[in-house]
Symmetry: C2
């Protein structure tokens, strides 16, 4: 079995010393990640990769993107058609989003080119169909960079843990949220102040919704569910709750409970079946001893729990140009060294899994009230009616009675019963701000 | 490209419902791990693996090993020759050690069978030659289980991080040592008491030397260096120091310094070259915030640091029948699904890397002395002569002057200068016990 020879003839007349058998790579989208990939491929960032050869770069308004440090025979273009018609063996898609990225990837696969992408939205929404198209066309389709940037969790789930029977995956999957929450905790910042700091330092975008409201982590979770649990979870079936409701006082109460606050993504499959018992992204209290609590700043962690191997953890830099480029180049090297197209990573297209939305966990419930006698009795009565047991009542000193934050923790209870009780409680007259509740997970 | 068809004809007359195209697996060594592998393959532990089929089990005194829950067509034998002559496609070697395992693996590869092994000593000593033999014979040779049991760090280094330029690998690689050290820390046990507890709970062998003196972690480190850094480090070139010197008082002093004590394995390659700057396994002080400090009980962690992706962490169950079996079955599934033999994992046989033994780190030095005036001045004088700067002097109250433990920490210094100073200091007359020194690493 030998490597593909497409483009060899032209390769031989390329720049002196460049391996004619190297896979020819076309980069589509020359932003931070694309440039970092090009630096690794051309050896500008250290050792070059002799198995790979940068052949083309495609970007809007390409003139302002040109750099002098790539070899002269690299083609620069604004038109995807030029890349599709070129002798590139692999297209690296780094423009993100569903449109036009989905169409471009499809056309690249149909043109017989392997595709490597960092596009989590595309994989979460259309991954199985594209993987099947790649298999039909005898080419590779890889996307390690789509989940947790430089942390090689997808290949680990697919390869190193394939012998286990994985039942749940949990993680801190969004570096922007983790940066914001760890800064709120460490510096006592408000959400808005921490977000502004994250934006100023390049860790958050001008419109932070996809990050802070959970959609970004939800797309990653859907991909992890497909590869790790073999379950097709639609991104829209992932229950997402924003971290915007978290206030500095919540970190104080969390500490008193031996916890920190993290944006936690969780997906759990039933033992011996394919029903998804829970798929959600939300702020949660995490005990300090949990690996989920140890994630600082913009880092990510993924915990996979299997029936045989127990819990395995993967952590590192989930975003940023260089770490994401490592994942892209690792995928390119895998394409280059495999003799034949590998089995598709994703389960075949089919009906999505049934996803339950109710789950059982202890809860943290924070109220902000205009204080008067009888409030705790009122609340206890409403919780009791739903058979919810109060575990503790916490009240930090030093707050005004006109706007008093205090916390109740509840023993493990279902989301449905909690929501019912909180719905009744919302009608009571002492609230100054809406009540928030977070699960306490471990 | 289709799968190999060896054994198909016989497979078709096997047990009803078993896939005739499945790879036929012969397990050599039916202890804890071998039985756990068999349970997964036969579906006794949950979902069976349809791509794989248990065909033969080989063990000394096989009669006492027979179990009723494997299919009737599985062959039981005491003779490796029977396995080599059988139609097994893959041999799983789980007997451990260099001899006869090395010969048996070689003969299996020569017989055209793929080999999956958990044998760290064999891979560390003879891995490259066996990998080359496998490649020449067109078969697979995989050994994920040889390092950190169920933690899929080898496939992650080889695949998911292949696009990085890895410069160093650090880890807590031996679960026995970590169990002993965390128990000494948590319960104030002596080394001997913690070892006895580990032995009673099955976490340590009757002869614990390979674990506590560092040889086990050293073999794993040599494999990690080969796969992650591309450096051939002979196991005998890994500088190993035992954890037997650690005493309960050291944990007290470590806490005062914001640290815990771990058996830390480290290998570092020079940037842009192949000289190994350090390859060692030794007790070390680790700051509490380090991922190396978070490893509890018999768990393992590996930290890989690359020029592009920064630090990536892999953690989980490094030993035990079920987690190790997950790694073995994952390797078997990789053999089953790949169309052609993959590129060997290990660098080709060749001269070993040059390994430097001196490294620079801050140091923890603990003395136990018969107290008298002038001891600190004496010690300070000897350190000063080697240009070693004292950072702190710590002395816990409540100890007898006849046997007084106290600690000096030194600013970053080379091993050579430290050993020179400690050699001179050993000749002084106030020592009650030998002085110990540990690096402070992060």
């Amino acid at each position: 079995v030998t490597g593909r020879t497409t483009g060899t003839a032209q390769g031989e007349v390329g720049a002196a010393g460049r391996d004619a058998r190297a896979r020819r790579v076309g980069i589509v989208g020359f932003g931070t990640v694309g440039q970092a990939v090009a630096r690794i491929l051309t050896g500008r960032a250290g050792r070059p990769a002799p198995e790979l050869r940068l052949a083309a770069v495609c970007n809007r308004r390409i003139a302002r993107k040109r750099v002098s440090w790539v070899p002269e025979d690299v083609a620069w273009t604004e038109r995807i058609e030029d890349v599709l018609a070129s002798d590139a063996d692999v297209v690296v898609e780094l423009i993100g989003g569903l449109d036009p990225a989905g169409d471009w990837v499809r056309r690249a696969l149909l043109a017989g080119k392997s595709v490597v992408t960092a596009n989590k939205q595309l994989i979460a929404a259309r991954g199985p169909e594209l993987a099947e198209l790649a298999a039909r066309n005898g080419v590779h389709f890889r996307f390690e960079a789509a989940v947790c940037g430089g942390v090689p969790v997808l290949s680990a789930l697919r390869e190193g843990l394939s012998g286990d029977d994985l039942l749940s995956i949990r993680g801190v999957l969004n570096g922007t949220c983790n940066y914001i929450l760890t800064r709120m905790d460490a510096a006592g910042l408000s959400f808005d102040a921490a977000l502004a700091e994250a934006q100023a330092r390049g860790f958050a975008e001008a419109d932070p919704s996809a990050d802070v409201d959970g959609l970004d982590a939800g797309a990653k979770l859907a991909i992890l569910a497909a590869i790790g649990l073999g379950c097709r979870v639609r991104p829209s079936d992932v229950a997402c709750r924003s971290i915007r409701s978290v206030e500095p006082i919540d970190f104080t109460y969390a500490r008193r409970l031996g916890c920190v606050i993290r944006q936690v993504a969780r997906v759990t499959r039933e033992t011996g079946g394919s029903t998804v018992l829970e798929a959600g992204v939300q702020p949660a209290l995490v005990p300090l001893a949990s690996p989920l609590a140890a994630v600082q700043g913009s880092q990510n962690v993924v915990l996979a729990t299997g029936a045989h191997g127990g819990e395995t953890a993967f952590g590192g830099h989930g975003a940023g140009g260089d770490p994401t480029a490592v994942a892209v180049v690792s995928d390119l090297l895998a394409v280059a060294r495999q003799e034949g197209p590998a089995r598709p990573w994703l389960p075949p297209p089919g009906p999505p899994a049934r996803v339950l939305t109710d789950f059982v966990a202890p809860r943290y419930v924070r109220f902000v009230v205009r204080d008067r006698p009888g409030i705790v009795a009122d609340l206890a009565g409403r919780f009791s009616r739903q058979h919810l047991n109060i575990d503790a009542v916490l009240q930090e000193p030093g707050h005004s009675k006109a706007e008093l934050p205090f916390v109740m923790t509840l023993e493990a209870c279902s989301t449905g019963a909690l929501d019912q009780a909180l719905g009744e409680i919302a009608a009571l007259d002492f609230h100054v701000r809406p009540t928030v509740s977070y699960p306490i997970v471990d």
